[in-house]
């Protein structure tokens, strides 16, 4: 059974049809890439899955539960985590507090008011910061980090809650080749407990880390399959050679 089942999802903005009946299945532990030309509906689909906006029609089921009309907070509590395309770290808080904020999200109000879990979560915060090579900057203001470091901080925050499915919208945008390779290495270990849906323009990066790909074009699924199958797909080649 798939962890995420997207069925016939459409999204309209007035007269513009951004998604026109998209089907996507993501298996547990699978790294699934969404690729396609600009304006093909990749980010729109990701936002519909995350709850940033609701699908006009169709259904989205996550872990056996219909989340089509669920709020982002409900989806997050169900185990779905999102890293935004534009970095959304909390720039006025310290790097440490950004991660702590993500880690304590499921605590009750009274536990938060009493700061009861501060010490218990300290080890987890430090472990995440160390893993994403941000431990030396724990006390720095997040807004002072470089773009690449902010992207890593965002991924660390998205992973903090041990999600079942992580949605990444262009995680390597603005990164140097060295940082892209490092990002791939940082994501590899999460496969043991977390599936991934990733929107990315860097095809080399996506081929390196993804098991399956779905290619979107003009709001429709053009093709879906393994990396090798997509590479052989004549329909995909046609779109990429004529319009990308």
């Amino acid at each position: 059974m798939a962890l995420l089942e997207v069925r016939q999802v459409t999204k309209r903005y007035g007269s513009l049809q951004a998604l026109g009946g998209v089907d996507v299945d993501v298996a547990p532990g699978s790294f699934h890439g969404l690729i396609g030309p600009n304006g093909s509906g990749k980010s729109t689909l990701l936002k519909a899955i995350a709850g940033a906006h609701f699908a006009t029609s169709g259904t989205i089921a996550f872990d056996g539960r219909d989340i089509t009309r669920a709020t982002p907070a409900t989806r997050a509590r169900a185990g779905l985590s999102l890293k935004f395309q534009i970095t959304a770290v909390l720039g006025e808080l310290s790097v440490y507090d950004n991660v702590l904020l993500a880690l304590q999200a499921h605590q009750g109000i009274w536990a938060l008011l009493g700061s009861r879990t501060r010490h218990a979560l300290d080890a987890d915060v430090c472990r995440l910061l160390e893993r994403f090579r941000l431990d030396a900057r724990a006390d720095d203001i997040a807004g002072e980090l470089s773009h690449g470091e902010q992207q890593w901080l965002e991924i660390a925050m998205a992973l903090a809650q041990k999600p079942k499915l992580l949605l990444l919208d262009e995680p390597t945008g603005g990164m140097s080749p060295e940082e892209r390779r490092e990002t791939g290495r940082l994501l590899e270990p999460i496969k043991a407990y977390c599936a991934l849906v990733i929107v990315e323009h860097d095809l080399d990066f996506i081929k390196d880390i993804c098991d399956r790909l779905t290619v979107l074009d003009q709001g429709q699924v053009l093709d879906t399959g393994s990396v090798a199958e997509i590479e052989r797909s004549t329909r995909v080649q046609e779109v990429y050679t004529t319009r990308v």
Binding site: A73, A76, D97, A105, R118, D122, R133, D135, G148, Q161
Partner: protein, 350 residues
């Protein structure tokens, strides 16, 4: 090209300590407030008592805007409502016992804030800053107009309280004793607010103020946290309103209207929001300036304009308020939750 930082001991960076200015300012303010009744006349002690009550209103505003991103123009509503209830209790029921007046004022402010917050904050979608600002402004204005035309609560004349506040049956006149009761209420409100904003819940509020959408994607029910802080702020405003009515011996429609609500905003912006002590000092500064200017023949007619100009300059050129001149941005942000336990390898440097 961005270089990848080398891994280091996680606690190393967090061991850095800098001299904290805020606790010094808080300590000096408390010392000054303790000294006031011993160093000044009863007349000035009474004026200072009134300023402390307004400072509590400023704290309630800072909790909303400075820490939670709720722009409220309605804090006077909770202040005035508790004041009217205190006056009614005294006049209709003969209840003036401070141990009853204080909890009732807190509950009135809290329940009124819960009621307003239910409509403005607890919707399915996160409300915009403008929506909440206009909603609270409208509520405050409506309440002011309502009581101004309602004979049962004295209409435009308001309500006078003829009996003194009592403590275990002993009457408390305005002056040093009343001053100390209000000082306790101010310190208690300040500590409750400080505890909240420096807890892990305070970290949620700080995140919420910067990017509500991001917090929703973490799984936080942002509206619930907003409503919670709004209620706490309402409770503090209610406490100050109940004591204010007894201190002045009077409560009128203007005590719950937009003028006083706007003053609460100005106290905060002038002193420096997001610091708690800033709005307290802002309230004292504005009231002292107003008191001094209104007493001078030269400025009697124009002091509100001068005051407005001074505030305009501070808000326009120093958005962090008076405290922004001496407080670093890093210290204003501060840290959340209990402090780290000392590590074995900690050098203990200050």
């Amino acid at each position: 090209m961005v270089s990848i930082p080398e891994p280091a001991a996680p606690a190393a960076a967090r061991r850095r300590r800098v001299l904290k200015v805020l606790p010094i300012i808080e300590g000096l303010t408390l010392a000054a407030l303790i000294a006031v009744p011993h160093l000044t006349s009863d007349f000035h002690t009474i004026i200072a008592t009134r300023m402390m009550l307004l400072a509590m209103l400023a704290i309630s505003f800072d909790l909303c805007w400075g820490y939670s991103g709720i722009m409220t123009f309605g804090q006077a509503l909770f202040f005035g409502m508790a004041g009217y209830v205190a006056a009614m209790m005294a006049n209709e029921g003969g209840i003036t016992e401070v141990l009853v007046v204080i909890p009732v004022s807190i509950v009135v402010g809290l329940v009124a804030a819960l009621f307003i917050g239910w409509f403005l904050l607890l919707g399915k979608r996160t409300p915009t800053i403008i929506f909440v600002a206009l909603g609270t402004l409208t509520a405050s204005y409506t309440a002011e107009r309502l009581v101004a035309g309602w004979q049962w609560v004295g209409a435009a004349n308001g309500l006078s309280i003829w009996d003194f506040l009592t403590v275990f049956g002993f009457e408390i006149e305005t002056g040093p004793v009343f001053y100390h009761i209000v000082l306790l209420a101010l310190v208690g409100s300040y500590l409750a607010a400080r505890y909240t904003v420096r807890s892990q819940l305070g970290l949620v509020l700080a995140g919420m103020r910067q990017n509500e959408e991001r917090l929703a994607f973490f799984g936080y029910r942002v509206q619930v946290f907003k409503a919670l802080v709004f209620c706490l702020a309402g409770a503090i405003a209610g406490l100050s309103g109940g004591l204010y009515a007894h201190h002045e011996g009077f409560i009128g429609p203007t005590s719950m209207g937009i003028a006083l609500s706007t003053y609460a905003v100005l106290y905060g912006l002038f002193g420096g929001v997001g610091t708690l002590i800033g709005p307290v000092l802002g309230a004292f500064a504005i009231e002292v300036i107003a008191f001094q200017l209104s007493d001078q023949d030269l400025f009697k007619q124009v002091w509100p304009i001068l005051l407005g100009l001074v505030m305009l300059v501070v808000v326009a050129y120093k958005p962090t308020g008076l405290l922004g001149f001496i407080l670093s941005e890093r210290e204003r942000i501060g840290s959340y939750g209990a402090k780290d336990k000392p590590k074995e390898d900690d050098d203990g440097a200050p």
